[in-house]
């Protein structure tokens, strides 16, 4: 793009800084995309205007542009983070208001079914009943809190405190809605909701997949060969895991019902749990071990089975 920036702003090359600013403001008012939400041409025009002004409105840059040291495109700057991009998303935005069609609830028929519950209605005495504002929270919980549940205390915008119980088994990125725990309504309107987005910090060795917990368990060579009973951490405490003798690295053992509690199905009393899966990792001595090497040299002479024979057919 190498258009004449003066033309874009509708001013002459001799315009004073003040004239440029005035013209820019006049055009910006007309074309601001958030005042013309459906109009993509307005957005394009606004981008041109604001990038032209970002040069001509700055004395130093204007001088460079006049002397040909920079061109219009070199300095084109996307107005960052245009509000409309977020406000007009298909999922809606937290600021959008239903005041523009609140009275549709009184139209009768389909519209009152459709809008009746969702918009504010006039209360007794004609005072507008307004639903209270929703309040959004972002809470970070550690892994153990996420699987066991936790209580968090937050401060609401009006300074009150709110205690939030985070249910056991909450997932990273999950949203909770506490009905009526937002700001109070006006004129007898219902309170808004508290919307809580949960972030779960990763654990040092537990990983979660659905309701199951996965972990790697280092075992010694002797334990792998001879088998062992090993104390293993689970989210509810230590349990003893039997490692069968002759277990290879990568072998996965299951600890039944040691995973994350599942949300209680409606009408049922018992809460199910996922499982814990333990992947064995054989760990050799930290430093080369002469005794082990001597034994292995001897052992290998008579044990020549090919451990990679399964790969051969595949190549």
């Amino acid at each position: 793009m190498n258009e004449d920036l003066y033309k874009i702003l509708g001013v002459s090359k001799k315009a004073t800084a003040d004239e440029i600013r005035k013209s820019y403001r006049k055009l910006a008012k007309k074309h601001h995309p958030d005042l013309n939400p459906g109009d993509n041409a307005a957005e394009e025009q606004f981008k041109k205007i604001s990038s032209a002004f970002s040069i001509l409105g700055d004395e130093e840059k204007r001088g460079k542009y006049d002397r040909g040291e920079i061109d219009a495109s070199g300095q084109e700057r996307q107005p960052e983070g245009m509000y409309r991009r977020y406000a007009d998303s298909a999922a809606g935005n937290p600021y959008q208001s239903q005041a523009g069609f609140a009275d549709f609830a009184d139209l009768g028929g389909a519209f009152s079914d459709l809008f009746g519950d969702r918009v504010r209605r006039a209360g007794p005495g004609g005072m507008p009943r307004m639903r209270g504002q929703d309040v959004r929270y972002h809470l970070t919980v550690d892994f153990m809190e996420s699987v066991k549940g936790a209580k968090k205390r937050v401060t609401m915008p009006d300074g009150k405190t709110l205690d939030i119980s985070i249910p056991a088994g909450v997932q990273d990125g999950q949203s909770l809605r506490l009905k009526g725990k937002g700001m109070e309504g006006l004129g007898g309107g219902p309170s808004g909701d508290a919307l809580i987005e949960i972030k779960v910090m990763p654990h040092a060795f537990f990983r979660r997949e659905g309701d199951d917990i996965h972990m790697d368990l280092p075992i010694s060579l002797a334990e792998a060969v001879l088998g062992a009973k090993i104390k293993v951490p689970t989210i509810t405490g230590e349990v003893t895991l039997s490692v069968p003798k002759n277990s290879s690295s990568g072998r996965i053992l299951r600890l039944k019902a040691k995973g994350v509690p599942r949300p209680k199905p409606k009408g049922q009393k018992t809460v199910g749990r996922g499982d814990q899966y333990v992947t064995l990792k054989v760990v050799l001595p930290e430093k080369p071990d002469a005794e082990l090497e001597a034994f292995m040299k001897d052992w290998a002479k008579t044990h020549t089975a090919d451990v990679r024979k399964a790969m051969k057919g595949a190549l």
Partner: protein, 112 residues
């Protein structure tokens, strides 16, 4: 992506801490909260930029900004609702769609 108050202030150069506090208190911008402070999402930051633009470039007087924001919020609310309604109409069988269009054209002769 979430930003703290300090990050927002470096992100938007012509926003100062005092304004940010007032605008948040007045509900012009309604950031989420964590256990100790406000956290700003992308739409909150874009909305703060919009308010700065309204004030500086569009010369909207401070006392009119809530009115302008309210109008903008209503328009996006209406657009969202209208989009849902159009999608609901598009999901109907052809003859239902035709009937709706016919009805709209009858009410709006300028459209046909």
């Amino acid at each position: 992506m979430m930003w703290t108050e300090a990050q927002v202030l470096t992100l938007i150069s012509d926003l100062d801490r005092g304004d940010l506090h007032i605008w948040t208190r007045e509900g012009w911008v309604r950031p989420a909260r964590d256990e100790t402070a406000c956290v700003y999402s992308e739409i909150d930051v874009a909305r703060l930029r919009l308010i700065c633009q309204l004030r500086r470039d569009l010369e909207v007087p401070e006392e009119l900004i809530p009115t302008v924001l309210s109008m903008i919020d209503q328009i996006y609310g209406l657009r969202h609702e209208l989009r849902d309604l159009v999608q609901a109409i598009e999901a109907q069988p052809g003859d239902v769609r035709q009937n709706i269009l016919k009805h709209l054209r009858n009410r709006r002769p300028d459209l046909s």
